[in-house]
Assembly symmetry: C2
Homo-oligomer: 289 residues x 2
Amino acid sequence: MPTRALASLYIRVDGRAILLDCGEGTQIGIMRLGWGFRCIDSLLLTHFHADHCSGVPGFLLALAKAGREEPFHIYGPYGLQRVIDGLRVIAPQLPYSIILHELPSTESSFSSIGLDIRSFPLQHGIPCLGYSFHLNRMPEFDPSKAKKLNIPVDLWKVLQHGTPVTVNGSIIQPSEVQKGPRKGISFVYASDTRPVDTIISNGLNSDLMILEGMYGEDNKLPLAVKNHHMLYRESALLAKEAQTSRLILTHFSTSMETPEESLPNASEVFSPTECATDGMIVSLAFPQS
Amino acid sequence: MPTRALASLYIRVDGRAILLDCGEGTQIGIMRLGWGFRCIDSLLLTHFHADHCSGVPGFLLALAKAGREEPFHIYGPYGLQRVIDGLRVIAPQLPYSIILHELPSTESSFSSIGLDIRSFPLQHGIPCLGYSFHLNRMPEFDPSKAKKLNIPVDLWKVLQHGTPVTVNGSIIQPSEVQKGPRKGISFVYASDTRPVDTIISNGLNSDLMILEGMYGEDNKLPLAVKNHHMLYRESALLAKEAQTSRLILTHFSTSMETPEESLPNASEVFSPTECATDGMIVSLAFPQS
């Protein structure tokens, strides 16, 4: 729409990035954001409806223009090779290689930019995947344990960075001088789909869930069922079940001019719900503890 | 660019339309224009670089959403079938049929929405076509000739609309009651290319030429030659040679933030030159005579 971009997510961790979905015009959103193209190592596609991947050829050419020469990874459901081959008819020559990862229709795991990523099946009439992202946090260093093991203070930093050290001929593992495990950061992206349990199980106790808000009004349920999409209320119920900290709705029907108008239908089920807006930036930090 | 759309031309005649080139985001420009999708009968593609056709899948789906059921025509140079087949991997099912017209690398003619259209070869390193458009004007009706032939006044309107009539057993052709031929409207679109004579011959005495203005500054000539594009000055020289009425430059390099800055390099060669802007509307009318 002239007033609203297609849904997409740019994930940045320590200067490296992942793009999730790339419809027509997503590259303009990236330019506006100003976070760059060259640092994007992977593209994750949820499914192959045009509003989620029509911007791929232009995006691949923008990566080339930005000077990328390192291999680029594209993840997506069944059919990935056929779709990328088709779209690349207008982007045949690129100065970097593309590594395709066709993901199974069951749950699967992989890593990119330091994130543990899990893909899981959604229910949209064609193969469609949700993704959950996990940034693990190293347990806190415990000086009292280090002292007890007589580790010289100048080796503490090495252990704090996760590297074993040798003291008096014995190898000391970082885990020997750490406090208990600490919660990392996790978030989920799931669109387009009917409500399914995989969204709850993958979003359990997460910091953020980004779910589709295709239809704001409850009376659109028959349309939602027919088109394999979700109501605001259905997404909010999933977020509540998953006990996530926060829900952001996105992927609004073009029939809704102001998605915020229907927000009460979600927030009366799950209070910390917002509607995404073009260029919205959300920062997730490790909890202070 | 966030501040400038890809070059495209929406041609409207008596409520029917043609789209020329369709890069990423062109459908947003059409929405902003408000002239509709369903009335577009043909898409003309100049060539298959992504900035001229990456918006095709989204555009075809927008036509479907607008309710089109009539066959839709796509014209383009050698490779059309392969490119449209590739791009349609994400728009496989449409409620209308698509008729592809792969045009030869020599000059050729066809018609759409009442326009006589001629395609002609450009020089861009890959097959690339320019297009000239001609709206013919019927000669003026000559009442004195009609009187001389004793045609009843109530049949004049029929002849004025170009239909023969029968008077006293003889068929009278419209041409028998017309004054001399009248100039119609003609205009040309040519991008991306080095300067070639076909642009001049197809633009001869035209009302408007729309030519690329890839590089504004004369010192970019080596780059223009290398990338098969034109300087402002080169386009202006073609317009001057063709003795057209008016030149509009478009398809500006992303390296130029304000294309108007270099306009003097064109207008000192051919004074009636302008730079295209997003959403620019130009009306061409038959001359009053």
